[in-house]
């Protein structure tokens, strides 16, 4: 690459040389400027979260200039007539000031709230994409764990931010947080008193949440996001199966200029949509709720959606409480507050390792699975979504009851059953759908695609002409691989299983491996191998001479 730089304009060449002389950045850029990024719409979901986070930092910084994180009692004297002369905390008064007396304040507040909702939504859908395509597999387990930690932190970040304006609605959320914390066995009272600086609500919590919300948690999030991005960069992105794509390459567009411009555009889209929502879709109109008092609440109080599943599980729980040796174990609070969250987060964190344990698969994976091709994983994922989704829905059971005119109590009773039955049904249905889709793939590979052309054979029979699938679609389907199994699970009855598969845990492992792994519906089942040309006997006329213009 000796002397091809004649065209680099001086204003760029000069500073570049200056930097390269001092940083040696050229070597890095040489390797990375044309780094290839694979294309798929679903790979952009995580970017929504990333860009929302940047918008959160920008709008949040603006808000800190005007917000007063203080619970000092003041008498409101701002420009919102309805609350003039009302006693409230300085925090709430300053949140009102931001909304009505600072130009752009309301916009920044609303954009901040919308960006927070989008941030968590982006993380969730991104995580689901990674889960269902198996993109968490080796070597990406660590990045998956970082993601789970970030999601947990983001929930806490949302909770602390939501409590800051100190309006009646945010106070209700804070009260529930306190009620949950204080019911924890052994440490609950301690934790609460340390968090609130004494009894609820005290005078400290807003200031403490403020420093957690604007410094500690975002700092940790920023560090983890950086680690997440660096790992993604170093390990390169996974790609969907397709023509020319293997486990040993990356096919796509170069970072410079195409991916860079696309990413910039996507940032602007995210930013723009948040601005759109912040402008036209009112969110958290704190002035309507009034200042916080522990004596009041409005009916239909709801948390932000990402807390809905905890709200739902609290509502669903029967009133169990145990008193033993003079101590109280408030199961009706502890179980719903900790168990669903624990199941979801721990399950997510451990899944890559459990899968590895069951399949015995220690290889690197860089080609994403199509969800149908790992039916058990997909079914487990859907069962998880159903579990979470039901809890989330039941967090609004009063609204459901009100809207659909059903008994509130019955929404709870039905919910208590559904929360156990629903995931099982979802599992079974999803599993069946996956196998059905695999069969449909096998049919396309084996028989070709219906062309819509009806042909009459010499002896009078009518057949529909099938044509081979388009090359890229076929390559996409043929990216399927059997799910690995531990070797030795197929020991004959009476035979001696290999070491590690003996004993109860070993036997369970072998059983699970056999169920989880393998090829459920082989692509070329019963039709030999290769394209469908050999199938003339069955459907006839998958002719190479036929018109290939199928729609897809």
């Amino acid at each position: 690459m000796s002397h091809s730089t004649a065209g680099v304009p001086k204003p760029i060449a000069g500073p570049s040389a200056y930097l390269d002389d001092r940083l040696g950045a050229g070597n890095f850029l040489r390797r990375n400027l044309r780094k290839v990024f694979p294309d798929h719409w679903s790979f952009l979901l995580g970017e929504i979260a990333l860009y929302s986070f940047i918008v959160l930092l920008l709008t949040g910084t603006f808000l800190t200039f005007f917000f007063k994180p203080s619970m000092e009692h003041v008498i409101y004297d701002g420009s919102y007539e309805a609350l003039k002369g009302v006693g409230m905390s300085a925090a709430y008064a300053s949140a009102l000031e931001i909304s009505f007396d600072i130009r752009g304040g309301l916009l920044m507040r609303q954009m901040h709230h919308w960006a927070a909702l989008l941030f968590i939504a982006g993380m969730m859908v991104h995580m689901l994409r990674v889960f269902f395509t198996g993109a968490y597999r080796k070597p990406r387990e660590l990045n998956w764990i970082i993601g789970v930690i970030m999601l947990s932190l983001a929930l806490f970040e949302g909770l602390t931010g939501y409590s800051l304006p100190d309006d009646l609605l945010s106070g209700a959320g804070l009260r529930i947080t306190e009620g949950v914390a204080i019911s924890l066995p052994l440490v609950g009272t301690w934790i609460t008193f340390f968090l609130f600086g004494g009894e609820y609500p005290g005078e400290d919590i807003i200031a403490r949440f403020y420093s957690l919300h604007i410094l500690l948690i975002p700092g940790v999030l920023l560090a983890l996001i950086s680690a997440h991005m660096i790992l993604m960069w170093v390990q390169k992105h996974t790609q969907m199966p397709g023509k020319g794509r293997t486990n040993n390459n990356v096919v796509g567009a170069p970072f410079y200029p195409a991916f860079m411009a696309k990413a910039g555009a996507y940032f602007m889209f995210t930013f723009g949509v948040i601005a759109l929502l912040g402008t036209f879709a009112q969110i958290n109109p704190i002035w309507l709720f009034g200042p916080y008092t522990p004596a009041d609440i409005s009916a239909g109080s709801q948390p932000d959606y990402y807390m809905g599943f905890l709200e739902g599980s609290l509502r669903l729980m029967p009133s169990w409480e145990i008193n033993i040796f003079g101590y109280t174990l408030a199961l009706s609070v502890i179980i719903p507050a900790l168990v669903p969250l624990g199941i979801v987060m721990t399950g997510l964190a451990l899944y890559p390792f459990i899968e590895q344990w069951i399949t015995g698969d220690r290889r690197e994976h860089h080609v994403a699975d199509r969800p149908r091709n790992n039916p058990h994983r997909t079914a487990i994922g859907m069962a998880g979504i159903t579990f979470y989704g039901l809890l989330w829905l039941l967090g609004a059971n009063d609204e459901i009851s009100w809207t659909f005119h059903v008994s509130l109590n019955w929404t709870t009773y039905v919910g208590r059953v559904l929360i156990f039955v629903g995931p099982v049904i979802a599992y079974i249905i999803t599993y069946r759908i996956c196998l059905g889709l695999q069969r449909s793939d096998a049919a396309i590979i084996g028989h070709g695609v219906e062309s819509g052309v009806i042909k009459r054979l010499p002896h009078g029979e009518y057949i529909e002409v099938h044509v081979p699938p388009a090359e890229d679609i076929e390559a996409h389907m043929r990216g399927k691989e059997p799910i690995p199994m531990i070797s030795g699970v197929d020991t004959e009855p009476g035979g001696i299983p290999p070491k590690g598969l003996r004993g109860p845990i070993g036997k369970l492992k072998a059983k699970m491996s056999k169920a989880y792994g393998g090829e459920k519906i082989p692509l070329d089942d019963g039709h030999g191998h290769g394209p469908a040309h050999d199938d003339a006997g069955e459907h006839a006329a998958v002719g190479a001479t036929e018109d290939k213009s199928i729609t897809h």
Partner: protein, 368 residues
């Protein structure tokens, strides 16, 4: 070390030897790779756009960028033109600022997309991927070097050094945790505090504390609160705006016909069918603020715990495990409702040290 500096070779083309006034030579190859020479239509995986599409794309993108330019100006103008200060003006300012910002961002985004899709080539570049793991030789080298370094440092050979260093780290690591101690109050205070509310305190004059209406602060004459089914949200006199007191002492006051009250209610603590319960839900502490007259149900809007107000506020539905505690009330010589004592049991959510306070009260014959 510094002696060697002059030996570092500068790439020829980077050494500035230009005579002033001559055209600038190329100075660096660092930033741009070979493929950058546009027009290289034969680069595999780079499928150039035809000029007609590119020309069209350029025009559309330029139009969109111009929209961004104008909206950006509109944003700045809006900031100056639209003042805030009341709800209506805040709304208009928000629309102008947000609308122009939205338009600017979305048209910039669209312009970039048009640029990528219509002007830039279609790419299908292929890059090799290598296993993440380092090769065996590297691993072996790192392993050896690590051990060698450890040996050189003496940390393996000299246990005294190692152990004292570890021991030294422990208190330093604990120091930040110790510093957090004053976040909370004294331990001796807190479980006890949770058991009492301000209803247990007499007023400065040594009298029983009056029940006053939340919001207005007006004391309640029992004779005036006389329509059955009536309900009031009540706070303690003297603590009308003390949030810490209200978080435990807020009441819900209900008037019954005497025959409606059932055995769960302590009749000695009522006055003429008027009953006072803690408004703080025993589940997680929301104010149980909804009341249904016909069924006498108190409902907490947070998680729908439902209490039967006629029957000692026992739980009839929902996650709350205990009834809302009842406050002993009576009337003073002027006929105003007052509290004759504190709640017999802690109000609000359960906590570890709470124990079965209700059972203790029963054992003590209904007195706290």
């Amino acid at each position: 070390m510094t002696d060697n500096m002059k030996d570092i070779e500068q790439p020829d083309e980077r050494v500035p030897k230009r005579i002033v006034g001559t055209p600038s030579p190329a100075t660096s190859t660092a930033l741009l790779g070979r493929e950058e020479n546009t027009g290289a239509a034969d680069v595999p995986g780079v499928d150039l756009q035809d000029e007609k599409t590119a020309k069209k794309g350029e025009k559309i993108a330029a139009l969109l960028f111009t929209v961004t330019l104008l909206s950006g100006i509109a944003f700045i103008v809006s900031y100056v033109a639209f003042q805030v200060g009341d709800v209506e003006r805040a709304r208009i300012s928000n629309l102008a600022l947000g609308g122009s910002l939205t338009l600017a961002l979305l048209s910039l985004a669209s312009g970039l997309v048009v640029w990528v899709r219509m002007v830039m080539p279609k790419y299908k570049l292929i890059q090799e991927r290598h296993a993440m793991a380092s090769d065996g030789e590297t691993r072996a080298y790192v392993g050896e070097t690590f051990l060698q370094g450890a040996a050189e440092s003496g940390i393996t050979k000299r246990p005294l050094l190692r152990r004292t260093l570890l021991a030294a780290a422990a208190p330093l690591g604990l120091a930040p945790l110790v510093l957090l101690r004053d976040l909370g109050p004294n331990y001796s205070d807190f479980p006890a505090k949770l058991r009492h509310t301000v209803w247990g305190e007499k007023t400065k004059e040594g009298k029983n504390r009056k029940l006053v209406v939340e919001g207005t602060g007006a004391p309640i004459r029992a004779a005036d609160f006389n329509s059955p089914g009536g309900i009031l949200s009540v706070v303690p006199e003297g603590y009308e705006h003390d949030l810490n007191a209200l978080a435990k002492a807020t009441l819900i006051l209900i008037k019954f016909r005497p025959e409606e009250l059932k055995s769960g209610t302590n009749l000695n603590w009522t006055h003429d069918g008027i009953v006072a319960y803690s408004k703080i839900c025993t589940h997680v502490g929301c104010p149980a603020a909804l009341y249904e007259q016909t069924t006498h149900h108190i409902l907490c809007p947070c998680h729908q715990s439902t209490f039967d107000a006629a029957d000692g506020a026992k739980v009839v539905f929902g996650p709350a495990a205990r009834p809302l505690p009842q406050l002993p009330i009576a009337v003073d010589e002027e006929g105003y409702l007052v509290a004759t004592g504190d709640f017999p049991v802690p109000v609000g959510p359960s906590f570890w040290e709470r124990g079965d306070a209700e059972a203790e009260v029963r054992e003590n014959g209904g007195q706290s």
